[in-house]
């Protein structure tokens, strides 16, 4: 069936794969009709998809450094776009984003704008130039551009702090989904998730991760879009929700007016299970100040451009030109999911609060709601709760509470979709969390194996030895992440946003000025990274421990402070010290011209 070069056959290979996956969904749907249990369907979905990823990981095994670090620089633009989208969209995007929009409305939407707008910075300021440079890792660029091990090591440290903050959240999400789908305790499920993640990346490095991420993107986008379209049709909201939900959005506004937002007393709220929230904010009204919105969007955009696991995806394209276009495809594939999340939030909210819909629970009696099957299921899973605070016997808007994850996980069931969809959603969430975790663990392990071990400790190491070190590090970092994830220190979303702030505090200006300002030198870059990271971290600690902050910079946007300090430090120190050598300046000139050989020659 498949002849010739693998790369030339990619559309065919993934076409067959997509068809096969859809066939599998249909098979499960038939199984459900024939009496297959919900649990068996869940296990099949999770087991089957993990098996496929592991198979791809094994088929992509390699013994060459360029394959291991940058997938041999052969990944075509569209496929790199899909891989980047999977790399990018984490368990948080998949499971928690619609919930965030549902509960927080406009103030939260800054994340959607930020997490897509950041790619404009990636495409214009960085990706093509770093691709031309020919580095294997982001610290490789910093180390070569500025020279010296100190700058390289600092970049590795910033990368590790940011990526590690992020990866524990992803392993946590993998574990959560595996725990539910396989019905095993979370502490074990985390390690099941970890092993699956390592299966994708250990043998093939970046090559394995690339081809599994493409497969994971296909699973996650089907798993996200299918329910949105189905629910929309099921409740009669329109066959193409993105263009047709204006009436529903307006209707939610009407209902909010009618019910009003009643503030609950602290004593009442104390009886609500932890992690659940009520609807307290208007769905489509502007409920944040311009600066609150813009600062959050800006922090996320600059963070996007500084996160190494994203940047390194653009090292895998065949050319500089392809790197630029590939950024466009990445945002396109991300856009498909992000533009659907608000639609899902709208459908979910309307289905639950509109008394005219059969699924609506507001205005029904408490006893009636408590008797609904899906209410009982999700109440048991600690994701849904009603309580009769005012004692009138019916559920009011302020007496209904839900976990953010329930918007994605429970809405299919509430809207009366078959269980096979819930199994699909679990597989999608798992794909999203695994693909991001893969990219992050690989980014950290590669930085340490390439930049610390190969470039600093043992520059004469042979390829075979380098790759052994890289793989050992991958396992160690994975286990460290899983161990911390098993402790369940923090919610999924909080730590994700911090990762962006850490990355932008330390890396944004050293990367951007490295390309765009020839005068930037080693001393400046080191000062920028150290002071940026330290000041950002100090600000976070200060605000977390009760500090008032300034200029409206919160613990979610502390990167704005960190990166400003970084910029000032970098410019001042660069200007106070001597300008970079002629060789370095020539390197910068070379990186600005797409044609010709790459700046660093790699072994």
């Amino acid at each position: 069936m498949i002849k010739g070069n693998f790369i030339d056959n990619l559309p065919k290979v993934y076409g067959i794969y997509t068809g096969g996956f859809i066939g599998f969904i249909i098979l499960m749907a038939i199984g459900e009709q024939m009496g297959m249990s919900a649990k068996a369907i869940g296990i099949c979905f999770v087991g089957f998809t993990i098996f496929i990823y592991a198979l791809i990981g094994w088929l992509s095994r390699t013994a060459q450094a360029s394959n291991y670090y940058v997938a041999g620089r052969t990944v075509p633009t569209v496929f790199n776009g899909m891989a980047t989208a999977a790399d990018w969209m984490s368990g948080a995007s998949f499971v928690a984003m619609a919930g965030g929009i549902y509960f927080k409305g406009y103030g939260y939407m800054a994340l959607l704008v930020g997490w897509t707008g950041g790619y404009v910075l990636v495409a214009t300021l960085l990706a093509p130039y770093l691709r031309k440079f020919g580095c294997y890792t982001v610290p490789d660029f910093v180390g070569t551009r500025y020279g010296g091990n100190t700058a390289r090591l600092m970049a590795v440290i910033v990368l590790t702090v940011a990526s590690f903050t992020y990866v524990t959240a992803q392993i946590n999400a993998t574990g959560t989904i595996a725990a539910v789908a396989l019905d095993i305790p979370f502490q074990y499920a985390v390690y099941v998730g970890l092993v699956s993640i390592l299966l994708c990346s250990m043998l093939g490095g970046m090559r394995g991760v690339t081809w599994t991420q493409v497969a994971q993107y296909i699973v996650l986008i089907i798993a996200y879009l299918l329910p949105v379209f189905w629910i929309s049709n099921n409740i009669g909201a329109g066959f193409f929700p993105h263009f047709m939900l204006a009436d529903e959005v307006a209707r939610i506004g009407e209902l909010e007016q009618q019910f009003g937002f009643v503030k609950n007393s602290a004593a009442d709220l104390a009886t609500v299970p932890k992690g659940l929230a009520g609807i307290t904010k208007a769905h489509s009204e502007v409920n944040a100040t311009p600066w609150a919105f813009i600062s959050l969007a800006l922090a996320m955009m600059m963070g996007t451009a500084s996160l190494p696991h994203v940047m390194m995806r653009f090292f895998t394209t065949p050319s500089v030109k392809a790197a630029r276009k590939s950024v466009g495809w990445s945002v396109f594939f991300i856009f498909l999911l992000y533009s659907s999340a608000p639609m899902l939030a709208t459908l979910s909210k309307l289905a639950l609060i509109d008394p005219n819909l059969p699924t609506g629970i507001i205005g029904k009696s408490i006893a009636e709601v408590q008797a609904i099957d899906w209410y009982q299921n999700w109440n048991q899973a600690n994701l849904m709760f009603v309580s009769d605070f005012n004692g009138n016997g019916t559920v009011e808007l302020n007496e209904f509470f839900m976990g953010g994850k329930a918007v994605v996980l429970a809405t299919p069931e509430i809207a009366g979709l078959p269980y096979v969809i819930s199994g699909l959603v679990a597989a999608g969430g798992l794909a999203a969390a695994m693909s991001t975790a893969d990219g992050l663990i690989l980014a950290i392990a590669n930085a340490i194996s390439h930049d610390v071990y190969y470039k600093m400790v043992d520059p004469k190491a042979e390829t075979a030895k380098r790759l052994v070190v890289a793989r050992v590090l991958l396992v160690i970092i994975g286990f460290a992440g899983a161990t911390i994830a098993a402790m369940e220190i923090q919610g999924i979303l909080g730590s994700v946003i911090w990762a962006f702030d850490f990355a932008m505090s330390g890396l944004f200006w050293p990367l951007v000025l490295g390309v765009w300002w020839k005068r930037a030198n080693k001393e400046g870059a080191i000062a920028g990274m150290v002071l940026g990271l330290v000041s950002g971290f100090a600000y976070l600690v200060w605000v977390r421990s009760g500090g008032s902050g300034f200029l409206g910079i919160t613990q979610l946007t502390f990167g704005i402070f960190g990166s400003t300090v970084s910029l000032v430090a970098m410019v001042v120190v660069s200007l106070m010290t001597s300008e970079p050598s002629a060789a370095t300046q020539k390197m910068v000139d070379d990186s600005r011209v797409p044609a010709g050989t790459q700046v660093i020659s790699q072994k």
């Binding site: 704008v113 897509t116 707008g117 214009t124 300021l125 044609a595």
Partner: protein
């Protein structure tokens, strides 16, 4: 070297234009979020709401492809583009 300098000048020009459009749709319009939301936007959604759900996001996608095309033209003009395609 003069050729390189000219190429870089044009590249920088394109960067500024792209970043200006980016700044408008990622930050600028949200200065007037509350006022803009009174207006009905595409498909009947409130305008600011539409921008956060679809508008700004779609503009970024188009903007990046447009930028990539323009930059390629600049590179070709100076004979700096890479041989072969992607």
């Amino acid at each position: 070297m003069a050729k390189n300098a000219q190429h870089w000048e044009k590249t920088r020009g394109l960067l500024f234009v792209t970043l200006a459009i980016w700044a408008i749709f990622s930050m600028g319009i949200f200065l007037f979020g509350a006022e803009m939301n009174e207006v009905t936007g595409p498909f009947g959604y409130p305008l600011t709401y539409w921008f956060t759900c679809q508008g700004s996001l779609a503009i970024f996608v188009i903007l990046i492809f447009w930028f990539a095309g323009r930059q390629e033209k600049i590179d070709e003009e100076f004979g700096f583009s890479e041989k072969g395609d992607d």
